[in-house]
């Protein structure tokens, strides 16, 4: 078995806490009394419901979809009735609500009729495979939930040389991919074979962290049993965050994906092992994605383990299956301890992105000390940023500087926060700075657009004015010409006939002017008819004026 020969900067050796949830075999979760199924469970355009309240649905039935390319439909996890379509609390950083189907399972778990492809039937072509993946609602199960069909379609246009299957599962506590690989390696390889059929890569590398020897062994065995070629199962050192897409690519191929690029632009595509299994289910069994493996673990749960969980299952149901809480003040996290989301309550449902429900102990919020610039964060940063500088500039709101220190290359893996001796929640500062910058950009975009619109309007009005002016000018000229022509014609006719009459008329006019002038010869002064007092005042004023003149001289 080849080991990866490349490495990435920094990273952390964390207590992996994997064994807790590996004590029990993979189980199938029962249906909760009520499933809360989010209408949109992917990154991209939102779905619209295609069923209404009161409808009876069967397992696998389409419930919501969108016509946009970047979208993934949602299907019913079991048979039952749509009790409501309403806003419910979901897993979100801001604790917001989103539209959900509330399904009451009828316990029969009836499936819709589907045509299952027999093993002998001819192989599907690329378009048919992509169509199946799309209509099964498959998204990236590593956590990004990007619609897989859209990703594959775009990647195919670039041409993929290397297909990477991500089985790293580098975050502590999480074991769902581990168990999936241990138990369903052959199904994962089926999925990989379809990916190969679509992408035609030159080679396929499966990367698994070396703290999962059982998974590595199972995958290798399945590989030898399968007829697939150009695939290697590669063990990578256990070092968080080896499962980050760009980190894994560096580890397995040595390629460093540019910060502005997506991996498929350099001919590399990553898919999670869970996604491969879902693809196999969709194509071989015509089964849409309606359940996934969820790890329920942490120091606050009685019997940690892994469950095949129907989407929409409330977290509280899984907690009950795992024996309930063992602590008084449990803190629920969806995902791992490094990048997971805090859940406000246990009434939040499992979605396609849910790999883990982590029950931690609610501890007191620590007071952070000042940064002493020790540089530990710099040493562990897998992106080789200078976290202490980013912290400094985020804290002092110098956002332009955070950008020049490459804030947007930060993957929020949390390594810096996890080693900070002053216990500063560094990643929170970066999220804050990113949020502020995004907000600023939105505002700038808006004001730019408004300004452009305003300027365009002004230009349009000015242009119209000019045009109107031009028109008016032309019209005026035309009129003047016309008048001149008319006048000329008139003069021509009149000239001969009335020369003597004209002379008389002129004489008469002159007489009239003279008379008017005479009538107007009235003294305009207001100093006539004065009283003696007024006359005295005027004389005085005149004398003063005269005196001033002499003085001035």
């Amino acid at each position: 078995m080849p080991n990866s020969v490349y490495s990435f900067h920094g990273g952390l050796h964390l207590d992996d806490h994997k064994s807790e949830s590996l004590t029990q075999p993979l189980q199938i979760a029962s249906f909760a009394d009520e499933l809360i199924l989010k209408v949109s469970q992917h990154i991209g355009e939102p779905n619209t419901p295609v069923v209404t309240i009161g409808d009876r649905v069967k397992r696998g039935q389409l419930l919501a979809e969108s016509s946009a390319l970047v979208s993934a439909p949602v299907h019913a996890p079991t048979s039952g009735t749509i009790k409501a379509i309403e806003n419910r609390s979901i897993a979100h950083a801001s604790g917001q609500k989103a539209e959900c189907f509330i399904i009451v399972p009828d316990g029969k778990d009836e499936a819709i009729d589907v045509e299952i492809r027999s093993a002998e039937s001819t192989a599907l072509d690329k378009a048919a495979l992509l169509d199946q993946i799309r209509s099964a609602g498959i998204v990236g199960l590593g956590g990004a939930v990007f619609p897989t069909a859209a990703k594959l379609t775009t990647a195919n246009q670039h041409g993929i040389k290397t297909l990477i299957i991500n089985g790293a599962e580098c975050e502590p506590y999480i074991t769902c991919d581990d168990l999936l690989m241990q138990n369903y390696a052959s199904i994962i390889f089926k999925g990989i074979s379809y990916l190969q059929a679509i992408l035609q890569p030159e080679k396929t590398i499966i990367g698994i962290e070396d703290n999962k020897p059982a998974a590595i062994k199972a995958m290798q065995q399945a590989l030898t049993e399968s007829s697939l070629s150009n695939i290697t199962v590669t063990s990578i050192p256990t070092l968080y965050p080896s499962g980050g897409e760009k980190q894994l690519i560096k580890l397995l191929t040595g390629f460093e994906v540019h910060s502005s690029q997506l991996s498929f632009e350099i001919g590399i595509l990553c898919q999670n092992v869970g996604t491969c299994a879902a693809i196999s289910q969709a194509i071989d069994k015509s089964r849409p994605l309606t359940s996934r493996v969820v790890t329920v673990t942490g120091p606050g749960i009685k019997n940690p383990g892994n469950w095949f969980t129907p989407l929409g299952t409330p977290v509280s149901h899984l907690i009950n299956l795992a024996g309930g809480y063992t602590i008084e003040k449990p803190k629920l996290i969806m995902g791992g301890p490094m990048m997971g989301l805090t859940l406000k309550s246990d009434q939040i449902p499992v979605v396609k992105a849910t790999n883990t429900i982590l029950v931690m102990d609610q501890q007191e919020q620590e007071i952070a000390q000042e940064c002493i610039r020790c540089g530990r964060c710099t040493e562990v940063c897998p992106v080789q940023l200078l976290p202490q500088q980013l912290y400094w500039y985020s804290r002092t709101h110098q956002f332009n500087l955070t950008e020049s220190y490459h804030l947007f290359d930060c993957i929020e893996c949390g390594c810096c926060s996890a080693v900070c001796p002053s216990h500063i929640p560094l990643v929170q500062y970066y999220r804050f700075a990113k949020g502020e910058i995004w907000d600023q950009r939105r505002k700038t975009y808006k004001s730019d657009r408004s300004r452009k619109r305003h300027e365009f309007r002004d230009a349009r009005v000015a242009k119209q004015k000019l045009l109107d002016e031009e028109k008016r000018k032309l019209k005026r000229e035309a009129l003047a010409k016309k008048k001149a022509a008319e006048l000329a014609a008139k003069e021509k006719t009149e000239a001969e006939s009335s020369n003597s009459q004209n002379a008389d008329a002129v004489q008469a006019a002159l007489e009239r002017v003279k008379a008017r002038k005479k009538a107007q010869q009235v003294d305009p002064k207001n100093t006539t008819d004065l009283t003696t007092d007024q006359q005295d005042q005027i004389d005085e004023a005149d004398a003063r004026r005269e005196k001033n003149k002499v003085d001035d001289a």
Binding site: K246, E256, P337, T342, Q369, Q388
Partner: protein
């Protein structure tokens, strides 16, 4: 526990790092007392008391919580380093002025813990070095040469100015570095200078062995990952490079690299002063440049400058350059301008 990820509480703590520094200072300090007497204890007691006093007073003035800032040991470290730098049997007021300057001007005027661009202990030391040259150059002979030393009570009385100074004047002498500098200016050869009893095996009686213990304390700091190796190694290399080059050319009138390494404050500076994270460079390349700069500056000051030792000035000059060094030594960010081949 924080609201958003990550939820893992770091095992390291700033207080623990500072405590490690104090632990690492113990062997050298004990050696110091062993070779030079209990006067250092008096220095330490006064310096630490004044440091805590000033820290508390300023924190109260600044309306900051006392407990987290007083329990981080940073004031104690500043005081300890200051006490090691000044001569033994310094008067109490000199310690008060130096520590006051260190804590107020060197630390809190810049915003306190984490915000000071200059090493506070060095700021305080340089302030008293420039202000009180007589007191700051009155050093005492090691016990090996002059066993007639003061006991702890006498030392305290002496520092407090309760006892007449005259009766112990016979014990004072210049430091080896000082004597070396003065003798060279009198055109003496190294071989002649070295005949003075204070020079010991290679770098001065007492001093050379204390330096060894600072080195061992420094190894403890590296071993416990309190500091990284880059700054001390670069600083020692910088010093070695210059002192060796000049020594090879003219061994008669230039001190040996060994003398330079093990005398004065070089070892203490390399492991305990230059490595103060707040005032040092934070990038790997930057730390190498920063350390190297201090090492060479110490030699330049010792060789051509007006002071016998130059660690404090070198550290302050390097502190001043840290923003520039950090700016130009930023590591290449992953995915930004990656090399073409891999």
């Amino acid at each position: 526990m924080t609201y958003s990820s990550p939820y893992i509480t770091p095992s390291a703590s700033t207080n623990r790092l500072m405590l490690n520094v104090l632990i690492a200072l113990i062997p050298g300090t004990v050696a110091y007392i062993w070779y030079f007497g209990v006067g250092l204890i008096v220095n330490l007691v006064f310096a630490i008391s004044f440091a805590l006093l000033f820290e508390t007073a300023i924190l109260l003035l600044r309306k900051r919580p006392l407990k987290p800032y007083l329990s981080d040991f940073s004031a104690v470290i500043t005081a300890w380093l200051f006490a090691l730098c000044i001569p033994m049997h310094s008067p109490w007021w000199l310690i008060a002025v130096g520590i006051g300057f260190a804590m107020i001007a060197g630390k809190h005027l810049y915003g306190g813990m984490g915000f000071n661009p200059f090493n506070p202990a060095m700021v305080g030391y340089v302030a008293v070095l420039i202000s009180f040259p007589v007191e700051m150059t009155t050093w005492y002979l090691p016990l090996q040469i002059s066993p007639d030393s003061l006991n702890i009570l006498q030392a305290f009385s002496y520092s407090l100015g309760l006892v007449d100074i005259q009766q112990w004047d016979a014990l004072t002498s210049a430091t080896p570095l000082d004597q070396y500098k003065t003798s060279l200016s009198l055109n003496m050869m190294i071989s002649e200078i070295r005949q003075s009893p204070v020079f010991g095996s290679f770098a001065g009686v007492g001093w050379e062995w204390i330096a060894n213990w600072w080195f061992i304390g420094g190894l403890y700091l590296i071993f416990t990952k309190t500091i990284r190796w880059h700054i001390p190694v670069a600083m020692i290399l910088g010093m070695l490079l210059l002192s060796f080059s000049f020594y090879v050319v003219d061994p008669d009138s230039v001190a040996s690299p060994g003398f330079h390494l093990f005398s004065g404050g070089l070892m203490l500076g390399a492991f305990f002063i230059a490595t103060d994270p707040v005032t040092a460079s934070t990038t790997v390349k930057g730390r190498l440049i920063y350390g190297f700069m201090i090492g060479t500056l110490v030699y330049i000051i010792r060789h051509w400058g007006g002071y016998p030792d130059g660690v404090a000035f070198a550290v302050l000059l390097a502190n001043m350059s840290v923003p520039l060094i950090d700016y130009y030594t930023q590591p290449r960010v992953f995915g930004v301008n990656p090399p073409e081949d891999h």
